[in-house]
Amino acid sequence: MQIEIRKNDHKIIVDDFSASEMRMCLEEGATVDFYNIIDSDNMNTAPRSLSVVQHKQSTFRFHSVNIKGGSSSLSLSIRHEGDGAACVLNGCVVAGERDRVEHNIHIDHQAQYCSSSVLYKYVLSDEAVGVFSGRVLVRKGAQHTISDETNNNLCTSRACRMFTKPELEIYADDVKCSHGSTVGWLNEQALFYMQQRGIPLADAKRMLQRAFISEVLNRIPDKSRYAHLLSEPV
């Protein structure tokens, strides 16, 4: 599937999960909000890919929400060909049982004054497996690139596993880039504090998980796209 976004157009695209391979080209000044919202109706566990080419001053925003469980695998590759292109990638995953959720991200900064901002958060329980790999490449000519990449993860069981690999490769000398990942546990003190106030342990855990992913959810402009997946109102 090939999608062209015309000059200065703003398109909202809602992934219907039918295509296994998608290509997209954003012409000058174009903006795309791409919603990749997984619920039980559109589950597709086969590996899928999305390649995006961005021209001058275009903006690509990607919103991935997979919080009801279920496996998925997506490779997202973004190339900034034109100066001033920007991309924002938001992902949150809540996986349990034997789910396996994989996100492979590749951002190729080839032009000047471009930016990329990546925030992915995973909450894993049971025997779930999470994979995040994010490679940001800043080529020699890509001066004044601003890039941040963050992957924070929460493990709530002994048997779950998280593989995280944020990578940054820089060949330009005037850039502002950061990357990092964390893997942590639920805050035991917070859980006890909540229980002491009478919040049942399972509810307390759910509230802390929700708090953990809320930073990602808050970055997604249209809340109605994922609101139905949440147990409590936004």
Binding site: A190, R197, I199, L201, M207, S214
Partner: protein
């Protein structure tokens, strides 16, 4: 209300509480004092069921029920409340959601229906006024970025919301300015009923003068070594704990 018999508890294999006996009747207010590290907060933690602490011996009965066999949340539902010495910050969980979950947790335990949104808001407002707590604090994440004194006042606000039978105030007075201390003391006094009890853990006389506990205990090295009236707390204020150590 509460009966503790020969309670021993340890953390990481180290014994902290070494045989505590304590009875608290309905409507009674007790002060618990003792030097740093004597085990006051450990006793609060064991009473409320903190999983970090292991009870190795003894029993606790709370209004006729075996407290030690109950989950921490059920102890809360039965009316046990701890104002933490160090209240915990919970980023991303609003005070409102937190309080609603706590109240409804208790109501469900007792077979009652959840509060309606209107009832809940009215209750929040009423109790906030009692503690003179800013509306802005109620909209923020639990304790996140609160000042030391605001955290302590927020603990008593939660106590007012939950109306517990037995409240343990673990150094709620430390970090409070003179005015805030009075607000907190007035709050605690106004929540007093004939069937509610209180354990006040403190190092200072000021809060006790406001609350006038009938009974004062001194905890030393994991044991209650002395029980009396307010003359004990006055003596500690004047002389410190040397006389307790020397008697040991």
């Amino acid at each position: 209300m509460l009966e503790i018999k020969n309670l021993h508890a340890s953390v990481d294999g180290k014994e902290i509480l070494r045989g505590i006996d304590l009875r608290i009747g309905d409507g009674e207010m007790h002060a618990l004092m003792g030097p740093n590290g004597s085990g006051k907060s450990t006793l609060s933690a064991v009473l409320t069921g903190n999983p970090m602490y292991e009870v190795t011996e003894g029993s606790i009965t709370f209004n006729g029920k075996d407290l030690l066999s109950m989950k921490p949340e059920d102890r809360a539902h039965e009316g046990l409340f701890l104002s933490f010495q160090y209240p915990v910050e919970i980023p991303g969980v609003s005070m409102t959601n937190f309080m609603r979950a706590a109240l409804n947790g208790k109501r469900r335990y007792h077979g009652e229906k959840d509060l309606t949104a209107a009832e809940f808001i009215r209750l929040m407002k009423e109790k906030r006024t009692l503690l003179q707590l800013d509306n802005k604090l109620a909209n923020r994440s639990v304790n996140e970025g609160f000042s030391g004194g605001e955290k302590k006042r927020n603990e008593i606000f939660q106590m007012a919301m939950l109306e517990p039978k037995l409240s343990i105030l673990d150094e709620t007075d430390s970090g409070l300015d003179v005015d805030a201390m009075k607000i907190v003391a007035d709050g605690v006094n106004s929540l007093k009923r004939a069937d509610t009890s209180c354990i006040i853990i403190t190092h200072y006389q000021r809060l006790l003068e406001y609350l006038q506990p009938e009974i004062v205990h001194i905890l030393y090295k994991g044991r209650i070594v002395c029980t009396g009236g307010m003359e004990l707390s006055r003596r500690i204020e004047a002389e410190g704990f040397d006389w307790v150590r020397n008697a040991d």
